[in-house]
């Protein structure tokens, strides 16, 4: 088994004629948090979705654990051990919190359901209180926690998080990032985090990428990028 869990080489994605990703190279190693920061429309979410095969990359290659997953259908990619907390959370609003978590356990056929629900409730205690409530009635922060919890139910080897801080109060953002750090530190879960909230994301990350207009412009450890004046100027202005 290689040390590299997820590797993309020369990934190009198009929406019709518009090229959203212009040859992206990236990697996520086992047990690390990698982050991708960039402004609106840089192509961050497109990369997340491309990893998941929807839309598919027109050229380039995405490998997960040494296997080419570029052309696989989305549900097969999920079954290989990548879970996603998608942008905008996409929880199932009319189903209860517990049912949402159940859907997350689809890939392992609910084999570890009780145990995993316990784990998720330990990580986010508020979800236990809400477990019989319709997910659509949760607050934004709770919905984000549910989206992450639902992804964890699949016992993934790699967790993709697309803007988990979107639209949340600073204190909730802090709690969410703390949970991500905790997951990585205690369980060794590999995380690929896409964020606009560069400060939090870079502080957390072992490896970081900056994306501008569909290209990776800078790479380094989180701390290195955090120290770079051009990163500070472009993404940390105004202070978070």
């Amino acid at each position: 088994m290689s040390d590299i869990l997820l590797r993309g080489t020369g990934v190009e994605t198009f929406y019709g004629k518009i090229q959203a990703l212009k040859g992206i190279d990236f990697e996520v190693r086992n047990g690390e948090i990698a982050t991708l920061i960039g402004s609106n429309g840089a192509g961050k979410s497109t990369l997340m979705m491309t990893i998941f095969g929807s839309p598919r990359a027109r050229s380039g290659k995405i490998e997960f654990d040494g296997h080419d997953i570029t052309q696989l259908p989305t549900h097969d990619i999920a079954r290989r051990g990548i879970a996603q907390s998608p942008e905008g959370r996409r929880i199932f609003p009319r189903m209860t919190v517990l049912e949402n978590l159940q859907m997350g356990a689809t890939v392992n056929k609910m084999a570890f359901f009780d145990e995993d629900v316990g784990q998720v409730y330990k990580l986010f205690p508020i979800l236990e209180k809400r477990s019989m409530q319709r997910a659509g009635t949760l607050s934004g922060g709770e919905q984000q926690m549910l989206a992450i919890g639902r992804a964890l139910m699949a016992r993934p080897r790699l967790l993709l998080l697309d803007e988990p801080s979107l639209g949340l109060a600073p204190i909730i953002v802090k709690a969410i990032f703390e949970a991500i750090r905790e997951l990585n530190a205690s369980r060794g879960l590999s995380v690929f985090l896409v964020e606009q909230n560069a400060f939090h994301a870079l502080r957390l990350a072992h490896r970081a990428y900056v994306m501008v207009n569909g290209r990776i412009t800078m790479t380094g450890t989180g701390k290195e990028l955090l120290a770079k004046p051009e990163v500070r100027a472009a993404y940390l202005e105004g202070g978070h």
Binding site: F52, S54, P73, T74, H75, A78, R79, A83, Q84, P86, R90, I91, F92, P93, R94, M95, T96, L98, E99, Q102, M103, G104, T106, V107, K109, M110, V117, S131, M132, Q133, R134, G136, T137, R150, A154
Partner: protein
């Protein structure tokens, strides 16, 4: 919750109008009513010795306007003129929930018991012995159809306007196999038994057609899906009309009615009554039909309920909520959609087969678009996904259709040539409008969770009104 309480309080306050405001409102009402009535009621065309004359009906228009204005005045005086009661809404909803919990628990079993004894109950109503049973069978077959469509529309969220196609497939499967193919393959002796053999086959064949419809529409959702399914329903009907040598086209096919495990319902030796040594009664056949359709409907109910708790049923509901999230969670949305179409269609096929065996005659006439629309109306009125709501809605819609047949006495006050029965669609439309105003999510909005942690607790939509519509 706080926001909605404030909202209602505000509405109640604003209803406290002064006399001038009421007068202004009434004048406005009168103008709008007149504007509406002039094109609809004022003119009337009369054929007079080959020429078309235009007749005006001013007194009628004025009378109707006066009625509307007086009605609105009464509403102003007695219904809307109420002081806002602060805090009333929240306490009322709390007690109401308790009341609903208990009713909700008992209503299902109570209705089941009522359904089982219904054929005997109607025997005590003079003049309704046969008719009551007939209506019960009629309503029950719509309940079953709506429960079947509920899988596709209510659970999986796939708007299907061509459901009647599967009903037709089931009916024609029964008709063609019973009259032509089964006797051809196995000899005439099989005919009394065909209902029991063909029923599962009809379900399977309809399910196959469900998959055939499902494939091309996999990528469609919402309104686009609705249009394609609508076209599918029409295609099936047109094929039935035009494929003459196979389906006998618009002439239809006479089919033998269902038998009691080979024993026909007739006044002859070897029949049901003869075998059991009881005097022949036409009602036996209706009792039999009622219990067959009740059994089929309960099968639909039980299977749907079971499926909801299985991975596939949960996947349907998740699919209705968010297709992209489903795929990201490793759900194969293709097979999920196809199974929803197939299983929904299967129940349509069952009831189609039952329809043919009950009617003794099938023709494309019975499978027009309005049937699909009615079944969909039942599902929507009942509350998408709610099986109990569908029962109420079916009784309400189909029952009111039958009720209009009983309103012959109204003939006396209606103008000549207008029969009460002509108003039935109008009333269904009115019912739908009222529903959209007062219960936009259908009669029963309660949805039982499929998984519980410790204590059982239903989630009422009234408690959590802000969710996704």
């Amino acid at each position: 919750m706080a926001a909605t309480a404030k909202d209602t309080a505000f509405k109640a306050e604003s209803r406290n109008l002064s006399p001038q405001e009421i007068a202004r409102d009434l004048i406005g009402t009168a103008i709008i009513t007149l504007l509406l009535l002039i094109p609809i009621v004022f003119y009337r065309t009369v054929m007079n010795q080959g020429t078309l004359l235009l007749q005006t009906r001013l007194p009628l228009v004025l009378g109707l306007t006066a009625a509307v204005v007086v009605g609105r005045l009464l509403l102003h005086l007695f219904v809307w003129q109420r002081a806002p009661e602060a805090g009333r809404a929240s306490t009322a909803s709390a007690t109401r929930t308790d009341w609903r919990e208990t009713v909700g628990k008992w209503i299902g079993p109570a209705m089941l018991v009522a359904a089982i004894f219904l054929p005997w109950i109607v025997q005590f109503i003079p003049g309704w012995e046969r008719r009551g049973l007939g209506i019960a069978i009629y309503i029950m077959s719509y309940i079953m159809l709506a429960w079947g469509l509920n899988i596709v529309v209510g659970l999986a969220g796939l708007l299907d306007l061509g459901y009647v196609a599967f009903y037709a497939v089931g009916a024609y499967t029964y008709a063609l196999l019973t009259t032509v193919y089964m006797p051809l393959w196995f000899g005439e002796g099989i005919v009394p038994w065909t209902f029991y053999i063909v029923l599962p086959l009809a379900g399977l064949l309809a399910a196959l057609w469900g998959v055939i419809l499902g494939f091309p529409v996999l990528r469609l959702r919402g309104d686009y899906l609705a249009i394609v399914t609508l076209a599918f329903g029409e295609i099936i009907r047109l094929v039935l009309i035009n494929w003459f040598w196979f389906t006998k086209g618009p002439q239809g096919i006479n089919v033998p009615k269902a038998t009691f495990f080979g024993l026909p319902f007739a006044d002859e030796p070897g029949s049901f009554s003869d075998f059991f040594g009881i005097p022949y009664n036409r009602l036996h056949f209706f009792f039999f039909l009622y219990y067959v359709i009740l059994g089929l409907a309960l099968l639909t109910y039980a299977m749907t309920n079971r499926l909801r708790r299985l991975p596939i049923g949960r996947a349907w509901e998740a699919l209705r909520e968010d297709e992209i999230a489903c795929r990201a969670l490793g759900i194969n949305t293709t097979s999920t959609k196809l199974t929803a179409f197939a299983i929904g269609a299967m129940f349509g096929g069952f009831s189609g087969s039952f329809f043919a065996a009950r009617q003794g005659f099938v023709s494309p006439e019975s499978f027009v678009y309005i049937e699909s629309a009615l079944i969909l109306a039942i599902v929507v009125l009942g509350g998408l996904g709610s099986q109990l709501g569908i029962v109420f809605a079916a009784i309400l819609i189909m029952g009111s259709f039958e009720l209009f047949r009983e309103l012959g006495f109204l003939q006396a006050i209606l103008p000549e040539g207008v029969e009460p029965i002509q108003f039935r669609m109008l009333c269904v439309g009115l019912g739908m409008v009222l529903m959209m105003r007062f219960r936009p999510r259908g009669l029963v909005t309660r949805r039982d969770p499929t998984v519980y942690l410790k204590e059982k607790k239903a989630v009422s939509a009234d408690l959590v009104s802000q969710g996704h519509g």
